[in-house]
């Protein structure tokens, strides 16, 4: 077998066209990624009362878990040192356009800096009572909406680093909803009431931002440092307000209790969500599809050129074990394209991220392990697609048929899923599960959060299958094609 590998390697490197194609893979992948990243922009701007223009790029804080978060809400709070608790009864959550995840309730937060640790008990627009903490965690409490007739009692008890949430319908019988351990919680935290609502995800009218109002009574707060006046803060992780303008929201003390109104969300920053600012890493790899087309052409031509010239007979006379020849070609092709793609992605991500940041975009941070998975995974996808094109070339024996079939299987489904917004989700979902395109899931770095409304589509870096499952689908296609090709090679006359 080693002699076959060497001879296939000589065959590859001695044809200028194939070598140029191989070199184009990293060049085009990285080049186009950087180019499109340069075009992306994110920012804010306003005119000060004195007539000056202020502007800046987008930014988003990171939560305790390292992920980008949205942390915008109105906070009516008091300091709490050491252990303590806060209990309220809520009788209403109103909004001009009540969103399913509009939220209002009580929160204990390390401080008022966006991105700091917190635990909260809240009522929501359509998901009942919920306990959420540290942005990514979300547990359900009592179902059903809140109103004067169906009030909801909420309680948070802090003991050191642990905060436990309870809810009740009558204030007497309490049910534990969840326990949050916020490591490193400072001794003095802020505890109080909050209100927030994400913007209308459907009509996407962010200029007509809506406000949610929570109605509170029976407010009691216990612990060191509490019992004083309530302070009101607009916690804001989004674009800054022009000077002199206070953020949307506020709180009012009424005869019975309080109303707090606010705007925004306390949740992970999910690309595709209307209020999100982060850019998924897949947007730093836009050149991948150009690279894939080059890979497909190179893979197909590596075998169809032999058929076209009749050289396939020479090859099979030299090695009658035709399956081995196919395997040797696959190994040589796969290894070369893997390395080329690896270089391309490893260059593309940092360069494109740099360009994205230059444009004011916020690039979702990645752990080293995730970065490795994305780069190596994408390179492996390139290699598998190259071998798939090779197998199609052996099956069809004509370059045109192999290339067009491969493109229809790989690029077109992705295109349909992204570029046709009206495509029924069942169809685009099915496309991204069954076709080899499923393997693009290796680029997904952000999990789906049920508590964050977003389209969760491929254009935002979300795929129906997990990275491993998606890659397995591609491997199934490639493996099946190789098997069919080997069988046909054996059966057919050369």
């Amino acid at each position: 077998m080693t002699e076959l590998l060497r001879s296939e390697w000589i065959k590859f490197r001695s044809v200028r066209g194939l070598v140029i194609g191989l070199l184009l893979i990293p060049i085009l992948t990285a080049g186009l990624s950087v180019l499109t990243a340069s075009g992306s922009q994110c920012g804010w701007g306003y005119q000060t009362p004195s007539g000056q223009q202020e502007s800046g790029g987008c930014s988003a804080p990171t939560g305790p878990g390292g992920e980008l978060v949205q942390d915008t809400f109105y906070f009516a709070h008091q300091p709490l040192t050491g252990d303590g608790s806060i209990t309220v009864r809520m009788t209403g959550l109103a909004s001009s356009a009540l969103q399913p995840w509009a939220k209002s309730g009580i929160i204990i937060k390390a401080n008022t800096v966006p991105g700091s640790a917190y635990a909260a008990m809240m009522v929501t627009g359509a998901h009942g009572v919920r306990m959420e903490w540290d942005y990514t965690q979300d547990t359900a409490g009592m179902p059903g909406g809140v109103s004067a007739a169906t009030p909801r009692w909420l309680r948070l008890i802090r003991a050191g680093d642990t905060i436990t949430g309870y809810d009740s319908a009558d204030g007497t019988h309490w049910t534990k909803v969840g326990t949050a351990t916020l490591a490193g919680l400072p001794a003095t935290v802020q505890a109080g009431m909050f209100a927030a609502t994400p913007s209308d995800q459907v009509t996407a009218n962010s200029s007509a931002a809506i406000i949610a109002t929570g109605t509170f009574d029976h407010v009691s707060i216990a612990g060191n440092g509490t019992g004083g006046t309530w302070a009101g803060t607009f916690v804001n992780s989004g674009p800054p307000n022009p000077p002199g303008q206070s953020g949307p929201g506020g709180f009012q003390q009424t005869s019975t209790g309080f109303t707090v109104n606010g705007q925004g969300d306390i949740a992970p920053d999910v690309p595709g969500n209307n209020d999100s600012t982060g850019t998924p890493i897949s947007h730093a790899l836009n050149g991948v599809f150009v690279g894939l087309i080059v890979v497909i052409v190179v893979g197909a031509i590596f075998i169809t050129a032999e058929y076209r010239r009749g050289m396939i007979r020479t090859t099979f006379a030299a090695t009658p074990a035709r399956g081995k020849v196919l395997a040797a070609k696959a190994i040589v092709l796969g290894s070369l394209t893997f390395v080329a793609a690896l270089i391309g992605c490893a260059i593309a991500i940092p360069l494109a991220s740099h360009q994205l940041r230059n444009g004011g975009n916020v690039v979702d941070p990645l752990t080293a392990l995730t970065w490795l998975r994305v780069v190596i995974g994408t390179a492996a996808v390139f290699a598998a697609i190259a071998v798939l094109a090779l197998a199609l070339g052996a099956i069809f024996r004509r370059g045109a048929a192999a290339v067009s079939t491969a493109i229809v299987l790989i690029v077109v489904p992705y295109f349909l899923a992204i570029a046709l917004p009206n495509l029924p989700t069942v169809l685009s979902d099915w496309l991204m599960r069954i076709t080899p395109t499923a393997a693009m899931a290796v680029q997904q770095t952000i999990p789906r959060y049920p508590q964050v409304p977003a389209p969760y589509g491929p254009s935002w870096g979300f795929f129906p299958l997990s990275p491993l499952a998606g890659f397995a689908v591609l491997c199934a296609w490639t493996g099946g094609a190789l098997w069919l090709a080997a069988w046909l090679l054996d059966r057919r006359d050369a």
Binding site: F289, R398, I407
Partner: protein, 250 residues
């Protein structure tokens, strides 16, 4: 010369298979999408564009057909025979283009009719209550325009294939040019003006504006302007092909 190319084309069984395939695939995809499309709370989609979704796949097969029309001659060496019989090369390309256009036009009419019919049958039941009559102005324009669109795609592919010669590379270039332009544009965030300009020059995106019957004001180009952009691309490709044909050895 025209009759020579016509004879060559219609006696090649692969030509007929590919044309049949383009028709079948277009109607099948259109029917599938139409059957699954429902109106959402935001509104219904564009009835013409939804009915004609099959164009995306059909155009790929049309492109393959056009590429093979000239690449086959290069690969079999028949190009020498063609050029010894008819030494003036660019008119040969023109004759090929004419024959190709006629064939794709005929297939396109069938494919478009089938797709529109599928839409007419199924979309009103799926919530498209205001489904316009097929004989109304915009619908006719969308249908006829799509046939023209397919013919232009064929010409674009023919031009590129004449320039590139290798069938596999030519198909990679054509399908890449068509599908990757909008894919890459979609990923440029926060820059609506850039995206708009890119959409204006993208051959497939602009060309398919001809199918739009709703939301015309939000499009960067009018439908006919869009088709014109594709026509410019096709003309450019044919020009490039002619130049290379003229100057290089066969």
């Amino acid at each position: 010369m025209l009759s020579a190319e016509w004879t060559k084309a219609r006696t090649l069984s692969s030509t007929l298979w590919l044309l049949a395939g383009a028709i079948a695939v277009t109607i099948a995809l259109s029917a599938g999408v139409v059957a699954a499309t429902r109106c959402t709370s935001v509104g219904c989609g564009d009835p013409a564009r939804v009915s004609l979704t099959g164009t995306y796949l059909g155009q790929a097969i049309v492109a393959v057909l056009a590429v093979l029309a000239i690449s086959d001659e290069y690969s079999t060496g028949m190009i020498h025979l063609t050029f010894t019989a008819m030494p003036r090369r660019v008119p040969v390309l023109a004759a090929k283009a004419a024959v190709l256009t006629a064939l794709v036009f005929a297939a396109g009419v069938i494919a478009v009719l089938g797709s529109m019919l599928a839409g007419r049958l199924m979309l009103p039941g799926n919530g498209f209550s205001d489904y316009p009559s097929l004989a109304s102005g915009p619908m006719l324009r969308a249908a006829f325009g799509t046939v023209l669109y397919l013919a232009l795609i064929a010409l674009l592919s023919l031009g590129l294939a004449t320039a590139v010669r290798e069938a596999a590379v030519a198909i990679g270039c054509v399908l890449g040019l068509l599908f990757l332009f909008p894919l890459i544009t979609a990923f440029i965030g926060g820059n609506a003006t850039l995206q708009r300009h890119l959409d204006q020059i993208s051959p497939m995106t602009a060309g398919l504006y001809i199918q739009a019957t709703t939301g015309l004001r939000s499009l960067p180009l009018t439908p006919w302007q869009g088709l014109g952009v594709l026509a410019l691309w096709a003309a450019g490709a044919l020009l490039l092909g002619s130049l290379i044909l003229h100057w290089r050895d066969a």
